[in-house]
Amino acid sequence: MLSVTSKEKGLMVTINRQKRQGLISVLIMFMLCFLVLVVSGCSSSGVKHFMRPGADVSSVSKVAVLPFDNHTSDIYAGEKVRGIVIIELLSRGMEVVEPGEVNRALIKLKIRSLARASREDYKSIAEELEIDGMITGSVETYGISRGISVSYPEVSIGLSLIGSGNGSVLWSTWHTGGGADFWTRHFGVEGRTLDQASRDVVGEAFEPLFSQMKKGTMLLIDDSK
């Protein structure tokens, strides 16, 4: 039997204590990481969308953005978001008919309400404006909402691409954005403005459509080779 001296015993106790302290530190770090992850709020930005099977959206190059339905208390929200949509489409290289031309065509065709527009109406608009498609939409939320401790911008929109050929929906999505981020909630950092939130929501909503258009164009290039 090996005899353990008091010095060795003391050393073992010290090592055990160090081990325990190390374990506690790891546990505390783990708990802190977990808390930060939970408190920061893991919000998913996945935009769910509809793409008509077999629809060739890559051939759409000239569109008209029709007046948006406004379901908010801000009477100009529809026009504001429509403007942002036009800028977004232009910045992505799409040709957009001037809003004035669109309004003139709607008056000429005697289409008073787009909420009651039929497929025939959409075909007539497309013929009148000589376009490949129409963007229709609605604004469901546009404003500053009040959270538990902070206020934040909130924007929700619905967008659809109507084909000029048969007046049916080729692509559609509904997207929402805004809310207070981690830094605003906990450290009072200035959050996004309503305008910035609107631009972000419009940009994110169009992302799946343009990635599909890009894919379609790539396929066409491959075919021509």
């Binding site: 939970v38 509809f50 469901e140 939320t141 909130e154 924007v155 929700s156 619905g158 809310g179």
Partner: protein, 193 residues
């Protein structure tokens, strides 16, 4: 000493459980006709939803989300809303919420759809819980077969309120739009079961 620690830990755990409030995930109450092959339904018309709330556009907002989510789910194709309203006017249907079997049949024939989706929004807005407000939305959706006029799917669902982490640690809570989106998505998911 060890016993004291154990009591203390148990007390903390019990307090946490009590304070967290065992919020149910808003269990849906839904009916789905067992003897019907849902593959038969290809195209539906979404009717304007009854708005039973103080929010002026709640019905219209939820309707837009329902159309978008139905299309995005890939389960059903949806008629252009304007086309639906034109057909309702042409058929002289005065109240969408009081449609009878013959109205549903006529709509099906006029629009060429196999089913119509109707429903209502019962709650839409902020609900005050203690010192803060959180969004809460309740909807009812129904799908009626246009050839028989019978209800083949129906659901009532609520979503809202703040989670334990949001209430006590300031974690992010849903905006009202996110609540509507998730609520409609969960409701439509029951169609795919």
């Amino acid at each position: 000493m060890i016993l004291k620690k154990k009591y203390f830990l148990s007390f903390i755990l019990l307090t946490l459980l009590t304070v967290s409030g065992c919020r149910s995930g808003g269990l849906p109450t839904y009916y789905i006709s067992e003897d019907i092959d849902f593959g038969f339904y290809k195209k539906v018309a979404v009717m304007p939803l009854d708005n039973l709330t103080k929010e002026k556009y709640a019905g219209e907002i939820v309707k837009q989300v329902v159309i978008s989510e139905l299309l995005a789910s890939g389960l059903l194709d949806v008629m252009v809303p304007g086309e639906v309203m034109s057909a309702v006017n042409e058929l002289g249907i005065k109240s969408v919420s009081a449609m009878n079997t013959s109205d549903i049949n006529s709509l099906g024939t006029a629009l060429g759809v196999e089913a119509v989706i109707m429903g209502s929004v019962e709650e839409y807005g902020e609900v005050k819980t203690g010192s803060f407000s959180t969004p809460q939305v309740t909807i009812t959706l129904m799908m009626a077969d246009t050839s028989t006029g019978s209800i083949v799917w129906s659901i009532t669902k609520t979503r809202g309120g703040a989670s334990f982490m949001a209430r006590h640690f300031g974690a992010r809570h849903e905006t009202i739009s996110e609540t509507v989106l998730m609520l409609v998505r969960e409701a439509i998911d029951t169609l795919s079961y």
